[in-house]
C-alpha cells in the first residue's frame, strides 16, 4: 500500500502551522498572559442568532470559549489566552470548517483599541518582513493599520446605505458580497463600530450609543478576528441574551439555556476587551493556502 499522498503533501503546511502556534504562544507568554484551557463541552453557549452549537450528551460543544474566559476575568485574572478547538454546526466552505481552532485573548483595564495594537504586534512577530504576498498583491503590515468604521465602509463600498441594509435585513449579504472582498489589501483593516444590535456581548461606544465597540480584522479580504470592548452590565447582558434567544426560537432553532453562572459573575468583571482570531485562516494567509483544508491534517471529508 502506498502512503496516503494527499496527507503526505500537507507536510510543509503542517510544519508552518506548528511554527506559527509556537510563535503565538511565545508572544503571549512574553506579554505576561496566562494560557488557560476551559471545557469544550458546556451546559450553555451564548445564544447567538447565526451560530449553532453541536449538541453533546444533553450539553453542547462550545462555539467559543468566551463565557469561561470572562468568568476568569471577573475572578481577577488580568490577561488570558487560549488556543482551542471549537465547533459550529453546518459551517463548511473554502474558509470554514465545522471544527476549527480559535485563538482568544482577553485584557482587563482597557478597551478594544488595545487589542488592535496586540494584532499589529502579533503579526509583526509572525512576519518579520512586514509584508504579505497574496496572489500578485502585497499587503503592508507596517503599523498602524487602517481603521474604518462600518458606516464609512458602507459609504465607500456598498451599493446601498447602511441604514437601508439594516432595515432590509441585508447587512450580512452586503458586507459579505460587496465590502469584505475589498478590505485589508493595502494594510490590514480594522472594521470598527458595528451597529449596537449586531454586537450582543459588546459595550456601546461612550458618546455614540448607536454603535458598539466591536471590530473585525480583515487581511486580503479575509475575516480573521472579531473583538469587543466587553459589556460588563449584567442586566443589559441578560436582556440582550433574552432578545437573541427569542429570535432563535422564532427562527425554529433549538433552545439555548441561559448561561446563569456567567451572568451572575459578570457584575464583578472589570472593564475588559477580548478577541477571537481564526488560527486556521491565519495559517492560510501566512502560507498562501487557497482552502482551509490545506492547513489542517484532516478535513471532515478525509476522516
Amino acid at each position: 500500500m502506498e502512503p496516503n499522498w494527499a496527507l503526505a503533501r500537507k507536510r510543509p503546511a503542517l510544519e508552518a502551522r506548528a511554527r506559527i502556534v509556537q510563535t503565538i504562544r511565545a508572544f503571549f507568554v512574553g506579554g505576561d498572559f496566562l494560557e488557560v484551557e476551559t471545557p469544550h463541552r458546556i451546559p450553555a453557549n451564548a445564544p447567538e442568532i447565526h451560530i449553532d452549537a453541536v449538541p453533546s450528551g444533553g450539553w453542547s460543544l462550545h462555539t467559543s470559549p468566551e463565557l469561561a474566559m470572562k468568568r476568569l476575568l471577573a475572578a481577577g485574572y488580568p490577561r488570558l489566552f487560549q488556543l482551542c478547538r471549537v465547533w459550529r454546526q453546518g459551517e463548511r466552505g473554502r474558509r470554514h470548517l465545522p471544527e476549527f481552532t480559535l485563538l482568544e485573548w482577553y485584557r482587563s483595564g482597557c478597551d478594544y483599541t488595545a487589542l488592535m495594537t496586540d494584532c499589529e504586534t502579533l503579526l509583526a512577530n509572525l512576519v518579520p518582513a512586514a509584508a504579505l504576498s497574496v496572489g500578485d498583491r502585497r499587503v503592508d503590515l507596517t503599523r498602524p493599520w487602517e481603521r474604518l468604521t462600518v458606516a464609512d465602509a458602507f459609504a465607500r463600498h456598498a451599493s446601498l446605505p447602511l441604514a437601508e441594509a439594516l432595515a432590509g435585513e441585508r447587512f450580512d449579504e452586503i458586507l459579505t458580497t460587496e465590502i469584505e472582498p475589498r478590505l485589508g489589501w493595502e494594510t490590514p483593516t480594522f472594521l470598527t463600530d458595528y451597529p449596537a444590535e449586531l454586537a450582543a456581548l459588546a459595550r456601546r461606544k461612550p458618546g455614540n450609543p448607536a454603535v458598539a465597540e466591536r471590530f473585525e480584522l480583515y487581511i486580503a479580504g479575509v475575516e480573521l478576528a472579531n473583538a469587543f470592548s466587553e459589556l460588563t452590565d449584567a442586566a443589559e447582558q441578560r436582556s440582550r441574551f433574552a432578545r437573541d434567544e427569542a429570535l432563535r426560537c422564532a427562527a425554529g432553532k433549538p433552545p439555548c439555556p441561559t448561561p446563569e453562572p456567567f451572568l451572575r459573575e459578570l457584575a464583578a468583571m472589570p472593564p475588559s476587551a477580548g478577541i477571537a482570531l481564526g488560527l486556521d485562516r491565519l495559517v492560510m494567509l501566512l502560507t498562501g493556502a487557497a482552502t482551509i483544508d490545506e492547513v489542517v491534517a484532516f478535513a471532515p471529508e478525509e476522516l
Binding site: R94, H96, T176
Partner: protein, 187 residues
C-alpha cells in the same frame, strides 16, 4: 426537498420547471452573521449559467431525472455516443454537456447517463477510473519525499499532478469527483 445544508457542487435542482446543476458553490458567513450560499447554476437543457445567492432557511426541489447505466461507444462529429446495453437505445451528448468529464472518458467505460424527458443531459462517471500515464517526467532517484509531486498526462489527454514515483506506462487510479490522483494500480 433539499435545504441549504444539502447544497454542494453537482447537486441537481428543479428551478422554474427545468433541471439545473450546481456548477460552483461557495459557503460564506461572517463570523457572527448569516450564512450565504453563493451558487453558480447551469441550466442542464440550455447550458446557460447564472449566479444566485441563497440564505439559510430556503428550500429546493430536487430535479426529476432518470439515471441510466450506459456504455460509452465512440465520439463522432455529432458528439459522444452512449448505448444502453439492455435496450440498445443510443443517446448522444455534446462536448459542452460533458464538460471536463470528457477528459476522463475512455472507450467502453460504463457510466450513468442522466435523462430528462428521454433526452441525455448529463453524465455521472464511476467514482474511480483507471487510466494509463502517457507522459510524465522520469523519477529522479533519491526523490523519496512522500509529498512531492510533478505534472503528468493520461491516455485521455487529462493532465494532473502525481507523486514523483509515477512513471510513463503506469496505470493510475483517479477520483473523478475531485480529478485527483489516488494510487497506482498493480497489473
Amino acid at each position: 426537498m433539499y435545504t441549504c445544508a444539502d447544497l454542494k457542487k453537482g447537486l441537481k435542482l428543479m428551478i422554474d420547471g427545468e433541471p439545473h446543476v450546481l456548477s460552483q458553490f461557495e459557503f460564506t458567513k461572517p463570523g457572527k452573521g448569516q450564512a450565504l450560499y453563493k451558487c453558480k447554476l447551469r441550466n442542464m437543457i440550455t447550458g446557460s449559467l447564472f449566479d444566485r445567492t441563497y440564505r439559510s432557511g430556503e428550500s429546493f426541489e430536487p430535479a426529476a431525472l432518470e439515471d441510466r447505466e450506459m456504455q460509452f461507444l465512440y465520439r463522432d462529429e455529432s458528439g459522444y455516443v452512449f448505448m444502453d446495453n439492455k435496450t440498445y437505445e443510443q443517446v448522444t451528448l455534446s462536448e459542452e454537456t460533458l464538460g471536463d468529464d470528457r477528459l476522463l472518458l475512455k472507450d467502453n467505460m460504463d457510466v450513468k447517463i442522466l435523462l430528462f424527458n428521454g433526452r441525455g443531459i448529463g453524465i455521472t462517471l464511476p467514482n474511480f477510473v483507471n487510466l494509463r500515464v502517457v507522459q510524465a517526467d522520469p523519477w529522479v532517484k533519491g526523490d523519496t519525499a512522500a509529498g512531492n509531486n510533478k505534472p503528468a498526462r493520461v491516455e485521455t489527454g487529462y493532465a494532473l499532478a502525481v507523486p514523483s514515483f509515477v512513471e510513463t506506462d503506469d496505470l493510475i487510479q483517479i477520483d473523478t469527483r475531485t480529478g485527483q490522483y489516488v494510487t497506482r494500480v498493480k497489473e
